[in-house]
């Protein structure tokens, strides 16, 4: 399974439609402080079904919708998609390409799509079950949290082992 593409529009500081293509190996992101690098990590977490606003560094989930600058108006919704290459059939669907999309409106309404077809959060969770993709503790290390594992108490450390079991 391969992560092929990330698309964002109106998600945090990515007001305009932005696409990043991925291949196997290492992809690096660089840029000055505050330019939007960690917002990319938040977008991936959000698409995979993150329900906590705090986990994407906001106080409410609407904080992920582009809310304007000195010269631009705020937008009405945020949308982001991840496309996977399902070449080995790891994801339990017959498509070779699987695109997961999430959308949030200012009204609070939230929508999920699987290959452009509306679906529920539950469907996305089932799709990724046991594939190692997901919001678990060890495949996304947020900024400043690299020591979280050493600093946490011994019960919290179990999570990383339970995920792997």
């Amino acid at each position: 399974m391969l992560l092929k593409k990330l698309e964002m529009c109106g998600f945090k500081s990515f007001a305009d439609k932005t696409e990043f293509d991925f291949q196997s190996g290492v992809t690096a992101f660089v840029g000055p402080n505050g330019c939007g690098k960690s917002n990319v990590v938040d977008a991936v977490r959000w698409i995979l079904g993150e329900q906590s606003a705090k986990a994407v560094r906001g106080t409410q989930m609407a904080d992920v919708i582009f809310n304007g600058t000195a010269s631009r108006r705020s937008l009405g919704f945020a949308e982001a998609s991840l496309t996977f290459l399902n070449d080995r059939g790891i994801l339990p669907v017959e498509y070779t390409e699987v695109c997961v999309t999430r959308r949030l409106y200012r009204s609070g309404e939230s929508e999920y799509f699987l290959n452009r077809q509306p679906c529920r959060l539950r469907d996305i969770r089932t799709l990724f079950m046991d594939t190692g993709v997901g919001l678990d503790t060890y495949s996304i290390i947020e900024q400043g949290k690299v020591d979280k594992f050493i600093q946490s108490n011994s019960k919290e450390r179990r999570a990383i082992f339970e995920e792997a079991a």
Binding site: L3, T18, S38, R72, S139, V146, A165
Partner: protein, 160 residues
């Protein structure tokens, strides 16, 4: 189930000892279940880490860089027993000196890039050196993030 957990635990423990020795160029480490707790599914996990030439001490006494390297060793140990298709690392190299950045990136390239994709956010030119694809993000228009094509040579002037 208990067997499954114990099997994974032993595997990760063995991997941890190997990746730790690779990242620190020696030394020793261990992970242990709390001996006071009879049920393995409830027991807390203790981490011991001892850089080469030093005595074994509590992990709270490790330096900032040593803690980061120990966490990376454990992350890689878990990865080895159950690789995830992709992994995102957001400035994990911030506390590392040049020598440790080199050991971390070397181990990543030697062992883990073949099984998983890595997305790495960094300010360090040494880390950029291992990337196949490089994206720049800028805010030429204040407050709006835009993708910019960058070449490795122009970036290395920009970075630390």
């Amino acid at each position: 189930s208990r067997e499954k957990f114990m099997q994974t635990f032993e595997e990760v423990r063995k991997n941890f000892q190997e990746t730790f020795r690779r990242l620190f160029g020696g030394g020793r480490c261990d992970v242990m279940l709390d001996p006071e707790e009879p049920d393995v599914l409830e027991a807390g996990i203790e981490v011991l880490a001892c850089p080469p030439g030093k005595e074994l001490r509590s992990i709270t006494l490790l330096s900032g860089g040593e803690k980061t390297m120990t966490t990376i060793a454990l992350l890689f140990a878990v990865f080895r027993s159950k690789p995830s298709p992709f992994c995102i690392l957001d400035e994990v190299d911030a506390a590392l000196d040049e020598a440790n950045i080199d050991r971390f990136t070397q181990l990543l390239v030697d062992e883990f890039v073949k099984d998983s994709q890595f997305i790495i956010i960094t300010h360090s030119k040494r880390t950029v050196g291992i990337a196949e694809i490089l994206y720049g993000i800028t805010m030429q228009e204040k407050g709006v993030s835009k993708k910019v094509a960058v070449k490795v040579e122009d970036v290395t002037n920009m970075l630390n």
